[in-house]
Symmetry: C2
Subunit: 92 residues, 2 copies
């Protein structure tokens, strides 16, 4: 069993309203930041998963996205494998 480090990005689907992004866009412009054309905000999740191999770790994480981490109606997700967690780090 190896511990893998994965990153999940969950973003609002294109075209859907993103009030958090809109508010941040407005705040940036109010603070004088120039040239901001669009802001959209989602979540990034760092997961450490124990699995026999990298493929299983990615499959399990995608399953978690479908079941819990992302809203299938309003959000898209992507899963990236960042690597294995070092033994020492894993036990810390």
């Amino acid at each position: 069993m190896t511990r893998f480090h994965l990153e999940v990005r969950v973003k609002p689907r294109p075209g859907l309203l993103d009030p958090q992004g809109k508010a941040t866009h407005h705040a940036l412009t109010s603070l004088g930041h120039e040239g901001v054309a669009a802001v959209r905000i989602g979540k990034v999740m760092d997961l450490e998963i124990d699995a026999p191999d990298a493929e299983t770790a990615v499959e399990r994480t995608e399953e978690m996205c479908r079941k819990l981490l992302a809203n299938p109606v309003t959000e898209d997700f992507s899963v990236s494998l960042l690597g294995e967690v070092e033994r020492e780090e894993a036990e810390a």
Copy 2:
């Protein structure tokens, strides 16, 4: 002036409490997902920035992170340049 697409990731600093990650970790385990060792949750922001060149776009985005997008005490940020926004897409 070119429109650039950038991605900002803002994550809770290692060692700091992350209640959202803790709750998600607990929920995943309750739902029967095996092998989840750690979950930490941050934000991912997609920005479109009009700037004369890519270097300026990245610099401006880093400045926005220092001033507004990230909490300098509790969060770390990273900025990635994803590319230029196509003309058609920019006007949509």
